[in-house]
């Protein structure tokens, strides 16, 4: 397929050595989709980032960025690090959709979202490096292996990249993998 976001040689997702083994492959995909998501937001102003460009959906790229910061935080710090007492961000007033509903077109909101997402990604990378895929964590009464959580995290990113594809195309027509 030739429908790539960036020309060959300019794509930060290109890698010189292919990952092998369970952990290297799934974490390679995690890095790939985090980068893809970041690229889908590149070059847009606050108004474009906050625009609900695929009505009637209330999603925006900025809302997705805040949601993914919250997703990273919750899987890493609450579930993997077993600190369920920590509150998920962006849920002021008990609004479970606060990440989307509170995504407004201001420079402050955009800057805070990037800072929050980058901080949570960095923290998750450090933790995952030292974790064991065979370890079992408890969540809502279920026992889940770390490997399942990581595959799920990539699946969630990939699905949100699908949302970002259409949101971006409806903002400025730009498409690509």
């Amino acid at each position: 397929m030739s429908d790539m976001w960036l020309p060959p040689g300019e794509d930060p997702r290109e890698i010189t050595e292919q990952p092998r083994g369970e952990r290297a492959v799934v974490e390679g995909y995690l890095r790939h989709y985090r980068q893809t998501f970041e690229l889908k937001l590149a070059g847009l102003d606050a108004e474009q980032l906050a625009r609900r460009s695929v009505p009637p959906s209330t999603m925006s790229l900025l809302g997705l960025l805040r949601h993914l910061a919250s997703v990273e935080m919750s899987w890493n710090r609450r579930v993997l690090q077993d600190r369920m007492e920590l509150e998920r961000p962006y849920r002021e007033g008990g609004d479970r959709d606060g990440a989307f509903n509170g995504a407004v077109a201001t420079e402050e909101c955009v800057a805070e979202a990037w800072e929050s997402w980058r901080r949570e990604v960095a923290e998750a990378e450090v933790w995952l490096d030292g974790d064991d895929y065979d370890r079992v964590v408890r969540l809502d009464g279920d026992e889940i292996e770390v490997r399942d959580i990581v595959v799920h995290l990539v699946e969630e990113y990939a699905r949100h990249c699908g949302h970002a594809d259409l949101l971006r195309e409806c903002i400025d027509g730009r498409t690509g993998q």
Binding site: M1, I15, Q18, P19, R20, G21, E22, V25, V26, G28, Y29, Y33, V54, P55, P56, S57, M59, E145, R147, D148, V151, H152, V154, E155, E156, A158, R159, H160, C161, G162, H163, A164, D165, L166, L167, E169, C170, G173, T175
Partner: protein
Amino acid sequence: MNELENLRRWLDDLRATVERKADGLTAEQLAARSTPPSSLSILGLVRHLAQMEHYWFVLTLSRADEPQLYVADGDWDAQFRDAVADQAVVDEAFETWRAVRVRADAVLDRLEPGDLEFVWDADDRTGSVRGALTQVLYEYARHAGHLDLLREAIDGQTGE
């Protein structure tokens, strides 16, 4: 659960998600380009997912000697462009997709966990059994994201 079982469970989950996102719609709704200017439709994506599973599992992993689905003469866009609001086209797409899944599962059923390590192209991210299976899984997930917004724009339905 081992890695192979885990990946297959996620694949089955996503196939079921796609079934749900297409459920209860007319041919016209399935073929609607409901998020313009995108040319995607639910029907086009069902055809594309059949093409993708067939390519990776039937042609690549089990080396079946047959043409790719929906992309005759390298016309990649045909799978989306020819997804028109005709009940016969809809029926064919869903029959083909479900039949491909049965064949794909037969291929996957023959894999042992250790087969994930098998590499046939060391320079390609997808040039191993693990790489190909993972690629299909996440491509499904990304298209499920497209389906979320396409479906919501058709009748307001949302959900996992």
